[in-house]
């Protein structure tokens, strides 16, 4: 099985031998990949029972906990080189607080989320008059876990308000491939945003 392209992208950003915390780590695929290719150490945080078992099957150290409760019960400031959160921010009760927590606990934060301002989403809302449904956002409005969707502009504004410095931005499509047009008109053309940030 080939690695999810956003995982490949994130891997390129991780310095070998670093300490990593993966928030909402799923079945532990990313951590396992980083351990095997980047010799990282670290933990995953995950809430789902089935994923806890899959992480253990993958030999990944996983802590069962609810990200909505924050990270302070388990982690001091600057405990990790990187705190990663892929496709989870939009499902959090307080994304703003969690972003701050990531910057507190890690030297750098890496976050990926679906871009609500992607032209397909805009089209569905503007022309169809319906809440957008896509490969990246497959849920109906009434049963979606994605309760805090945002755009690239929104996220960058939040970072500014929180005093966080964006170190790098990558914009990709639903297949997580980089597109030239997305680089030109990121907020319109990218389906998924990938950011690396730190405390200013």
């Amino acid at each position: 099985m080939s690695l999810r392209p956003d995982f490949a992208l994130i891997s390129e950003w991780i310095a070998p031998g670093s300490r990593v915390l993966d928030l909402g780590c799923g079945d532990g695929t990313l951590l396992r990949h980083l351990r095997e290719t980047r010799q990282v150490s670290g933990y995953g945080l995950e809430i789902d029972d089935a994923n806890i078992v899959r992480c253990l099957d993958n030999g990944v150290d996983v802590i069962q906990s609810d990200l909505n409760e924050g990270l302070s019960e388990f982690f001091d400031d600057d405990s990790f080189d990187y705190v990663i959160m892929t496709q989870t921010l939009q499902a959090m009760r307080h994304p703003d607080r969690l972003i701050e927590e990531m910057a507190r606990v890690g030297r750098e934060g890496i976050v990926t989320f679906p871009n609500m301002a992607h032209w397909k989403n805009r089209l569905q809302l503007a022309v169809g008059g319906r809440m957008p449904v896509s490969r990246v956002l497959p849920y109906a409005w009434y049963d979606t876990p994605n309760i805090h969707l945002c755009t690239l502009h929104d996220f960058e504004r939040l970072c500014e308000e929180k005093g966080l410095r964006i170190l790098e931005r990558a914009v990709v499509d639903a297949g997580h491939r980089k597109r030239r047009l997305a680089a030109l008109l990121p907020n319109l053309m990218s389906e998924i945003a990938v950011y690396r940030f730190t405390r200013a």
């Binding site: 078992v53 992480c55 253990l56 099957d57 996983v62 802590i63 906990s65 388990f74 001091d76």
Partner: protein, 382 residues
């Protein structure tokens, strides 16, 4: 009585006894001149002698962790749910060792044993033993069995405390530590419950200051009360409600103090049957070992500092409805392990059964334990 034993049971087992003739110095400053440990084993020790797993028991547990002693046994060992071929502690892969702790009443040297200095039962003169003493004595058993390093040390409740002490005191002698439904030390509330249990036993006129063997009595009422109290703390409010509600045994109120509610009947039954199989002095000792357990104490009350000595990888498990050793207590353990940069996984199992959940075959619990232990076995093979 089972006509045949289930395929996934270790089947018929026979306990063995190891005698230690060298004196054992205890935390309390006293020394046991000689002692015996009774234990059971399941599975086969491999030629490399690296597939051994130590199972530590809880307050009222013993060495009979799995299987049956005879075909007429009504019940198997206390952790039949987890130990056996194809089970999480898979006897096809592991050699499992389950001892009865020092101070116990099932065959290891304890208060009912003969004191070689007096020729009479120790009774109240049996020294108070600690979790550290147990670890020391279990290490001597490992030596005797030719096990230099456990693949894993596993235990629930008071058993989980022994696991932590193992990892801290003898770090090079275990590769994995599985700590289930435990706490880094007792709370004031935990100690309070233990103290009421002890008072129940010690105030029984048949207790005779711990020397009841010589009086030919058993402090039945006290031990029964202690067990009834204990049982309340092992179950959750919701488990009790589900199991008994306010059911009346005779379907009506009798306006008297005999057993009326089902829950009363259950507690009395649990208490009475316990008296027939357990020793009051051992109960006192076990509760003291619990009260005294505090591995952080000798590290300036810094649990992370204590865990920095550990080399094992940890799996910590808690149960949502456990209020005796709640998930918060397990998260304290996890937090300290994270602070100490140790490898740790943590699972919080959704369960309604309270503290007792750690003995039950709850599917998610068994999956977590099984996946982790498969990893332990695979690592050994590689």
């Amino acid at each position: 009585m089972p006509e045949t034993l289930p395929d996934n049971s270790v089947g018929l087992v026979t306990p063995k006894t190891q005698t230690f003739e060298t004196p054992l110095a205890l935390d309390c400053g006293r020394t046991l001149p000689r002692f015996e440990l009774i234990y059971e084993t399941y599975g086969e020790l491999n030629p490399a002698r690296d597939n051994a797993v130590l199972v530590c028991h809880a307050l009222s547990g013993d060495h009979h962790a799995a299987g049956y002693h005879s075909l007429s046994d009504r019940k198997p060992g206390w952790w039949e749910a987890a130990i056996g071929p194809g089970k999480p502690l898979d006897t096809n892969r592991f050699f499992i060792v389950a001892p009865n702790n020092l101070g116990g009443c099932k065959g290891s040297t304890g208060p009912a044993s003969i004191n070689p200095e007096t020729g009479r039962p120790y009774g109240a003169d049996f020294p108070i033993v600690t979790v550290r003493d147990w670890v020391r004595s279990q290490a001597l058993l490992a030596d005797a069995l030719g096990i230099a390093q456990w693949a894993a040390v596993v235990g629930g409740s008071l058993g989980g405390m022994q696991v932590m002490q193992w990892a801290i005191d003898l770090p090079e002698r275990l590769r994995h530590a599985v700590v289930i439904a435990a706490a880094p030390k007792l709370s004031a509330q935990n100690i309070a419950f233990n103290e009421v249990a002890r008072q129940a036993i010690m105030s029984d006129p048949d207790f005779h200051a711990g020397h009841f063997y010589e009086h030919g009595t058993v402090p039945r009422r006290g031990l029964m009360l202690a067990r009834m109290l204990g049982h309340i703390t092992y179950l959750s409010d919701s488990a009790m409600r589900e199991k008994f509600g306010r059911e009346l045994r005779e379907g009506r109120l009798n306006f008297g103090f005999d057993v009326e509610f089902q829950v009363e009947s259950y507690l009395r039954y649990q208490g009475q049957s316990f008296v027939d199989r357990f020793d009051a002095n051992t109960y006192l000792l076990m509760t003291k070992a619990l009260d005294y357990f505090d591995p952080a104490a000798e590290f300036d009350h810094d649990l992370a500092a204590a865990f920095r000595r550990a080399q094992a990888r940890f799996l910590v498990i808690s149960f949502t409805s456990d209020w005796r050793f709640s998930p918060e207590r397990s998260r304290e353990i996890v937090r300290a392990l994270l602070d100490a940069d140790r490898a740790v996984s943590y699972a919080e199992i959704e369960a309604t059964q309270g503290h007792d959940a750690f003995l039950l075959p709850i599917p998610q619990y068994m999956k977590v334990l099984g996946s982790y232990m498969r990893g332990v076995a695979a690592e050994r093979a590689s």
